[in-house]
Amino acid sequence: MKKFDRRQIAARVARDIPEGAYVNLGIGLPTLVADHLPRDREIVLHSENGVLGIGPRPAKGMEDEDLINAGKEPVTLLKGGAFFHHADSFGMIRGRHLDYCVLGAFQVSVAGDLANWHTGAPDAIPAVGGAMDLAVGAKNVLVMMEHLTKDGKSKIVERCSYPLTAARCVNRIYTDLAVIDVKADGLHVVDMVEGLSFEELQRLSGVPLRRMATAA
């Protein structure tokens, strides 16, 4: 079996974003998705700090400190882009105007509950940012994460042990091992990396999985 690396997971997510979609890419890992969006599709990227139509990273020396994304990295603006204030930006999110958001996660439950903002450690300083708004607001919530923790435990769980970001919000999970849909009747495996058997994926995941009807 050959696990996907981060770029391959990002490329796999990008493949599923259709022409015309309005998309928010969360900070960290999901930002990589931007580099893999098919060039023949017009896809509009949103950032919480008040911009639609984000373009590629600026060339060195061309950064403008007034033009950044939610990760506070310098970006560029495409033709057709627009700026707006923070309340409008989150109105777009909560108001169900975004077609997709892509978020990282600590854990996702079989019901689609998401935990991605707080480890629950008593001395940790929590920071939530826009994660809770995106999780309840986007029409499709896609999660990108490693399938297993560093000590080999499944990050797809029966119930999240970390504090929730939102309940029953995740639509699809992309990991270094598989692509899994969260449906009312459970988890459906859409795709697996080469050389991984369904039985092995089931064993590693530790929660009940179903084969997609169309999957071999």
């Binding site: 911009v51 033009l67 930006s89 920071a127 939530v128 809770m132 939102a166």
Partner: protein, 226 residues
């Protein structure tokens, strides 16, 4: 004649009392009113409640205000950063209270204050730690959390251009919290890159109308002294 221009940041903040609630605009460095924050540190008001998206970075701006022990409480969405050491230290020492609010709820609570809304229901944070103890309600098929506005005594914001009536335009993502904080505070102080004669701003592109702004200070960009 209405003239909201004030010569210095110090003069614009001279009446901030101890215990005031102060909104500070900006997201990262974009839209952060650095010179106004410096003036607030120098002014020395204590026991402030600060509303900002973050809780300061490195040793300047809001971080310097915290380091100077001027802040009693912070209302924000994302305090933890690699370089938020002044916040981390004061918070862990029990000297600085934190009210953590989801970013969209923070923005909407600020907007609600400026718009005269008494409270609102949002789906964000329902069923999470951040909604613990809050009133909830099922409306249609969804569950919501009741949230209240955040009013402020002062808002310190950064805009791009202003006329003497206080009409403001912004520059790119530096707009962020500026327009909503301007409306939510009793006294909004804007630092701007450029001041222009009345009538020079196209009314179609004014983002914050002067009714929301009390004082305007021009801060010349570095290397371009007044």
């Amino acid at each position: 004649m209405i003239d909201k221009f004030i010569d210095t940041a110090q003069a614009a903040l001279a009446d901030v009392p101890d215990g005031a609630t102060v909104m500070i605009g900006g997201f990262g460095n974009a839209g952060m009113p650095a010179e106004l924050i410096d003036a607030l540190v120098a002014h020395g008001a204590r026991g402030l409640t600060v509303v900002n998206n973050n809780a300061g970075n490195a040793d300047t701006g809001l971080a310097a205000l915290i380091a100077a022990k001027c802040v009693r409480k912070i209302i924000c969405s994302f305090p933890r950063q690699a370089d938020s050491w002044h916040f981390d230290k004061a918070h862990r020492a029990g000297e600085l209270e934190l009210e953590l609010v989801p970013q969209g709820t923070l923005a909407e609570r600020i907007r609600a204050a400026g718009a005269g809304i008494g409270a609102f229901y949002t789906p964000t944070a329902f069923g999470t730690k951040l909604a613990a103890g809050k009133e909830t309600r099922r409306i249609g098929e969804r569950d919501y959390v009741l949230e209240y506005p955040i009013h402020a005594d002062y808002a310190l914001i950064k805009a791009d251009r202003a006329d003497r009536w206080g009409n403001l335009t912004y520059r790119m993502t530096a707009r962020n919290f500026g327009p909503i904080m301007a409306a939510a505070a009793k006294c909004t102080v804007a630092q701007v890159r450029e001041t222009v004669p009345l009538g020079a701003l196209d009314p179609e592109v004014v983002v914050t109308p002067g009714i929301f702004v009390k004082r305007v200070v021009r801060i010349a960009p570095l290397g371009k002294a007044a």
